[in-house]
Symmetry: C2
Amino acid sequence: MPQDRQQLLVTSLRRFVRRGANDHVRRLVEKARAEDVAAALSELMYREARSVFELTLIDPVSAAGIVAAYESDLTELIGGLTGEQLVPVFAELAPDDAADILQELDEDLRAAILDGIADEEQEVVEELMQYAEDSAGGIMSPDFFALDKELTAREAIVALQENEDAESAFYVYCVNEEGTLVGVLSLRQLLMRPPHTQLKDMMVSDVISVPVSQDQEDVARIVAKYDLIALPVTDEFNKLVGIITVDDVIDVLRDEATEDMMLMAGVGDEDVALASTIGAVRTRLPWLLAAAGGGLGAAVMIGFFEGELKMRAQLAAFIPIVMGLGGNIGVQASTIVVRGIAMGQLEAGKFLSALWHELKVVAIIAVICSTLVAGLSLTMSGAAVDMAGAVATSLLVVMTLGALLGTAVPMLSHRFGIDPAVATGPILTTAIDLFGVLIYFLIAKAWLGI
Amino acid sequence: MPQDRQQLLVTSLRRFVRRGANDHVRRLVEKARAEDVAAALSELMYREARSVFELTLIDPVSAAGIVAAYESDLTELIGGLTGEQLVPVFAELAPDDAADILQELDEDLRAAILDGIADEEQEVVEELMQYAEDSAGGIMSPDFFALDKELTAREAIVALQENEDAESAFYVYCVNEEGTLVGVLSLRQLLMRPPHTQLKDMMVSDVISVPVSQDQEDVARIVAKYDLIALPVTDEFNKLVGIITVDDVIDVLRDEATEDMMLMAGVGDEDVALASTIGAVRTRLPWLLAAAGGGLGAAVMIGFFEGELKMRAQLAAFIPIVMGLGGNIGVQASTIVVRGIAMGQLEAGKFLSALWHELKVVAIIAVICSTLVAGLSLTMSGAAVDMAGAVATSLLVVMTLGALLGTAVPMLSHRFGIDPAVATGPILTTAIDLFGVLIYFLIAKAWLGI
């Protein structure tokens, strides 16, 4: 829906709710797509959104569609409702969506909803809730379309016509009598062969699948690499237990990319960052405290050179540029490496070649930057020649250090199983603050002969 | 393919190529998936990869599969081959892949290949090459499966069986006699109705589609929002001209996320960043020069306070912490906003509420950080009370400034149509360098009475 029509939906909903024009609200929701209504609700104020949603409860299918598409904090929208109100909605949700959402609700409401839905559904949902949230099991759907490999094409088509749950079936998975995944077919292939052909004679038997425990990032990488629409998930006995469809993978990819950026800047995950004040403070503070630690360390370090500073006060003027350029080139190097690791382009085995590449790059950049800064500081800020020389030499050393640390810290964290996006920021900042200042003053001392 | 099997493929290919065991290479390539071979080639040395690829040319279908799946710089792999060698490969490529790759090749080779492939194919490819690379037209495939809405379900199934190009058809698009897109059906829906039902009586007529000119980021957002497997693309007369499948969108999403991170750190796009030294220098240098400009400005600024520095040399010691914390909180704020904009969660209309949220967060964080720093600098680095007070006050002001700039700069660039990921980094760094120093020294002057 184009942005202006989306905005119109938001303002109309708001107006109707304020007026208490409930029928208008219902009609608007009925006509719009669930995804658009969900997006509109997340732009409304908390109370308005809640009122609109309560009006949609009259049609559980539509309410379930909105819940499934809602991308902001769901507890705000449905957290205050009763189990009785929500049971019909959860009965309409896909079991994997239901399991994900239930885990966010508080315990009483969760129990009330689970008790309310049909026993069979409850069992499926509870089973799904046992898988780790970021594993293949945690994002898979148990609604897949699997048939015995001994069936014929004609029988398969009849089965497809009779199975209501196969709504989003693009592939037919073939299993043997133990339920083991043995092959796959597209719906179109099913139509291409004579009706009496057995599935086992037409299926592709080299199926790409993942175990339930596989990390969701790996799942996303596999789907992206092989251009899959759906990926079957198997248990420890290679029995087919679910499928992951590409739309779930898109969500994973978006989340992971966001997560990496957010972690590198020390802002935790974005829902927290944009939602509650206290939550944002809690996730952002540690990273800033690490930076404060580095800064205090630098202060102590500079304290050792108070005598030199008294003799040449201009020394202080170049502290920001040395630390700024060292820090910036470190951020550049680490961003390349963190993203390269996330995209699967940089493996631990490429550590030395990445370091070597970065060394060549920083050599050129550092020479250009330090020459330029030395030249400009001689002319612009009236620095003496020895001072300009000291600054240029420090820039060469500190920028090289920044680039090498920026490459090494994330590569080494990755090798030791630590998420490079988490570890890199604070370590890098602190290290460059401390060593940068020390190197600068030691080099200046030598150049200026003080 | 698990990592160890992938590694085995790499080492086996390398060993066979070095030994000149060409038959072994061919057999290995034949048995493996094109995506795995492509991934292996990008890990081999340039010459080795080229040798393997030349051996695969004997089977153009397999060579085309490798080319389509190759994610590193393709010009390295095929740039040196002749048009004659490549024509059979390009004849097997999907037209949209062919168009994308041809645009990367040099002009002579491109012309030779275009001349070599069949006229009909050539026309399609040349048409595709006219669309902007990052538009819907640039990523769409012209191979879609569309049928006249007057046909019956039975006729549609026959058409599907006869149409070889519909390999990846998951939906049937319905058009009227002018070729205008009027509806859509899933293959399964086709099977569910009596054979004589006309498509127009079973299709969904409210189809989500995009114009050829639509930006690929919007395309990705639409596919993600509505959980689509394929999105039809229409020309200015609403005529169906192509489809974008979800696997292309996945590539867009991965690229855009990477691009945002890379741009924010000023490292351009990642292929450049990881490949050539000169390319990396060229993309990274501008951002560092902006930082150098900010640093030099700060140096000039500090120069104005040389008298004060001579009297209280300790003033220099706290420059890093004031600038570090101001810069870091600015990066945090801008990362949240840049990503929020990219994910479609922050619209221009939310400017004030985002600023207000950030203000609350920074108020708490700045009070905690400045109290802590003041306390520690009193005890640890032996600062006098007036100095600690000056540092704490500066931190309060500079951190607030950093947070507000970090929020405002990307939001305002977005409103004025500038990519927030590009503009934010340099503006933010320079501004905080300059104003941070100025604010710190002015506050210190007042507190210390010098």
